[in-house]
């Protein structure tokens, strides 16, 4: 696995998503499982444009909003993004992901 600094995340094109009363609901295209994303996961989802490195997302979106140290935030974001990727919600890549 490469360094999180150089990894990219994109929203999976297979999922469906909607904010219902402020809560981000995601339905997996793989098996129609329904997920409710917490605020941090939703922030990652919103920022997952496939072209901004994960470290950049953490620095720009996560640290200021959640008041956490960059190194700790990056490690948590990496774990969270991996979990979302395991459910087919996000796509992880070592290179930018063209849309």
């Amino acid at each position: 696995m490469g360094s999180p600094v150089n990894r990219y995340i994109a929203r999976s094109p297979d999922v469906a998503a909607r904010r219902i009363g402020g809560e981000l609901m995601i339905m997996s295209g793989r098996d129609s499982s329904l997920f409710s994303l917490n605020e941090t996961a939703a922030a990652l989802w919103d920022a997952a444009d496939g072209t901004t490195p994960l470290a950049g997302i953490v620095e720009r979106e996560i640290c200021p909003r959640f008041d956490v140290e960059p190194a700790e935030a990056l490690a948590d974001a990496e774990a969270l993004a991996s979990e979302l990727a395991s459910h087919g919600i996000l796509v992880f890549s070592e290179a930018p992901i063209p849309r």
Binding site: P13, D14, V15, A16, A17, R18, R19, I20, G21, E23, M25, M27, G29, S32, L34, F35, S36
Partner: protein, 361 residues
């Protein structure tokens, strides 16, 4: 413990969000099913541009689940453009079709677009019975081929098996067929009135004894009470004042190919037209929807104290077509009777009226 789906539904209800929208793209169809409630002529369907705009509006209103149906959706040459737009708006897209026109290339495109699931109408495993209902020779064979193509792409399929006189004994075979193809299966033994209110088609409904046997088939519904079991009893009075009859008009809306908005596909009470008003404005401001939303079980004569109250799934749309939005749906009373053998308060009342109206011998 509530599931996530129910929590989302409750939140949508509390916030007045149209969580699910059923959009019929056309009433045109390549089949002429004997029980169909639609007029298949094109009286001015929405254009592609109109539909895409409606989808934008519906997404903005918060809708998550979008069902595209008809008529036969593959009669529209712009179907894939519509689905692609819907997926771009990140809807959960569900399709209803007879699958007759699904080629391998179309199945591949549906998979690529991320369609959630496809419901396919299938009436019988016997070509002579299925084709007699659809009035399209060879339709069973073509439907099965279409479903195979969908399944080859890994697309979820469920058979909708509407039962009526002529195919009522075939559901076990249709279920086995569904199982063999990795498809889901559901039955619907209720033929409903045509959209114009015509009720002749109700004559296709299977008779009461057969309906009772069907509802008591525990392989279909394991939770069905044992034959002769007591009715579930009335709803508690404190709940009856709060309970909404169903999601129609509360978290569900139906849009016709002509842009007319209704509470549900089975609830022909026009609430506005997206050609004249934005969907979100109709959803928020329609007096008709306000009326539908105002009904509570406690308001429905006979139902709030009925012995079937706690288990009845009274359809307000059927009640509307039977003449009273705040009245019972006798078709649902008959269903409760078929399950338990105990007549509901309103069914008893209707029988008395019929008896009183009968000519003296």
């Amino acid at each position: 413990m509530k599931g996530l789906m129910q929590e989302m539904g409750d939140r949508a209800l509390a916030l007045g969000i149209p969580l699910a929208v059923h959009l019929d793209l056309t009433y045109r169809c390549n089949e002429r099913c004997v029980h169909c409630y639609l007029d298949h002529e094109d009286h001015g369907e929405m254009t592609t541009a109109e539909i895409l705009r409606v989808l934008d509006d519906v997404a903005g209103a918060g809708t998550f689940f979008l069902t595209l149906s008809g008529g036969e959706i593959f009669m529209r040459p712009d179907l894939f453009e519509i689905i692609a737009h819907a997926r771009k708006l990140t809807f959960v897209v569900k399709l209803k079709t007879n699958a007759v026109m699904i080629t391998r290339a179309k199945a591949v495109r549906l998979k690529a677009l991320g369609v959630d699931s496809v419901q396919v109408s299938l009436y019988s495993h016997r070509a002579e019975a299925h084709d007699a209902i659809t009035k399209l020779p060879g339709s069973l064979k073509r439907t099965i081929e279409g479903v195979k193509r969908l399944r080859e792409q890994g697309i979820k399929v469920a058979f909708a098996n509407v039962l009526m006189k002529g195919n009522e004994d075939d559901y076990g075979h249709v279920r086995a067929l569904a199982h063999s193809m990795g498809a889901g299966f559901s039955i619907d033994p209720m033929i409903t009135p045509a959209m114009d209110g015509a009720r002749e088609v109700l004559g296709l409904n299977i008779d009461a004894a057969r309906l009772a046997a069907l509802y008591q088939d525990r392989t279909l519904a394991p939770d069905t009470p044992e034959p002769g079991a007591a009715p579930a009893g009335p709803v508690a009075p404190e709940d009856a004042g709060q309970m909404v009859p169903c999601s129609a008009g509360h978290t569900l809306a139906y849009i016709s190919p002509y842009g007319e908005v209704f509470p549900c596909v089975q609830f022909p009470y026009s609430c506005g037209n997206v050609r004249q008003q934005r969907f979100a404005d109709i959803w928020k401001d329609s007096p008709q929807l306000a009326e539908v939303r105002s009904v509570r079980l406690a308001d429905v004569e006979g139902c709030s104290t009925c012995v079937h109250g706690a288990s009845c799934s009274r359809c307000p749309g059927l009640a509307f077509t039977e003449g009273n939005l705040r009245g019972p749906s006798i078709q649902d009373c008959e269903r409760s009777y078929a399950i338990t053998g105990v007549a509901s308060k309103n069914l008893e009342r209707r029988r008395r009226v019929i008896w009183l109206a009968a000519p003296a011998a």
